[in-house]
């Protein structure tokens, strides 16, 4: 059945529900994108035939494949987005320099996103509390006293 690879990506991420960051599944993402390409090409052929030869009986099949395309897109984007939420949390847990073990779990593109996020956060923190700025990632829990 279509979209099996896509749901596997989501399940893999959902299993580490505590927010830990599993390795980026490059191969899984590529396979889903390949399935989407194949679905789209089949649909383009059938849409052309439905139009030029009046094959309206193909419309349910075209709809079926389009549902699968939308499903694959939802899974891919949610997989990538949830990983960004985990990576964002790392900045608040570990500070701006991540342990290498965590960096190895991230793709190159995720590292670019993370560096940009750090810059945005730093710009925001400099805008707080007068000249020195304010590090809002410190003292997230009340001091013992």
């Amino acid at each position: 059945m279509f979209c099996e690879k896509a749901i596997e990506l989501i399940r893999e991420l959902h299993r580490s529900g505590d927010g830990s960051l599993p390795a980026f599944n490059e191969d899984g993402v590529r396979q889903v994108l390949e399935e989407m390409k194949a679905l789209y090409e089949q649909n383009q052929t059938d849409v052309h035939e439905a139009k030029s030869d009046g094959r309206s009986d193909l419309i349910p099949t075209i709809t079926f494949r389009h549902c699968c395309l939308l499903r694959n897109r939802r899974c891919i984007v949610s997989y990538l987005y949830d990983r960004l939420l985990r990576i964002r949390a790392l900045r608040w847990e570990y500070g701006s320099v991540l342990p290498s073990a965590l960096r190895f779990q991230m793709s190159a593109d995720e590292m670019v996103w993370f560096n940009q996020y750090k810059k945005s956060l730093a710009t925001y923190m400099r805008s707080l509390g007068g000249d020195e700025g304010l590090d809002v990632t410190q003292d997230l829990t009340p001091p013992k006293s």
Binding site: T63, C75, L90
Partner: protein, 186 residues
């Protein structure tokens, strides 16, 4: 980690596009009947002899696909109720919802049940009523057990709970543990 805030599941018959919970829930299967032939998709059908899946075929489709194909005008599929939402089971739930193992029957009994309201079944009002009654009927026991299980193995307490109830139980446990730590000045 505290700072990780996943996109939460949608409420009622809504789904949140980016919610992992909703994506996994919407993969649960639904008994459907094809109201139109699906040419060139025969390879998807178990028998798989012919090139197409003929009209009238009964098949279990994931919720996300049933929702996509279920169009009020051009109905490609019609949807039947999964048995635990039918009248027979509704009577059991209304009698005493606490005796039911919702994890085995679900595990997305409530959220999947709310999704069924997207298909205009004449039994929708009864389904909605039973979902609500079941939740209310089981809530008390979930709240009590989550508030009284301190520093003990809770797997027995959650084994028969549906996913939504487990989230509720863990929220109660979190509050209890934080209160205990506060009392000890931690």
């Amino acid at each position: 980690s505290e700072a990780y805030m996943p996109v939460s599941a949608g409420l009622g018959s809504e789904e949140n596009f980016l919610s992992l919970e909703d994506i996994i829930m919407s993969h649960e299967k639904l008994p459907c009947r094809l109201e139109m032939t699906l040419p060139r998709l025969g390879f998807l059908d178990k028998s798989g002899e012919s090139d197409s899946i003929p009209e009238g075929t009964k098949m279990e489709l994931p919720l996300w696909l049933a929702k996509g194909l279920y169009d009020k005008k051009r109905k490609i599929v019609s949807v039947e109720l999964p048995k635990i939402y039918k009248e027979g089971w509704r009577t059991v739930f209304n009698a005493d919802a606490n005796v039911v193992d919702l994890h085995r029957l679900g595990p997305y009994y409530y959220s999947f049940g709310c999704q069924l309201l997207n298909f205009d079944s004449p039994e929708n009002p009864e389904i909605a009523q039973t979902l609500l009654q079941t939740f209310v009927g089981r809530f008390r026991r979930i709240m009590d057990s989550s508030q009284n299980a301190y520093n003990e193995d809770t797997s027995g307490l959650v084994s028969r709970l549906d996913e939504l109830e487990r989230i509720l139980f863990h929220a109660g446990q979190k509050g209890l543990n934080e209160f205990q730590r506060w009392e000890k000045g931690q």
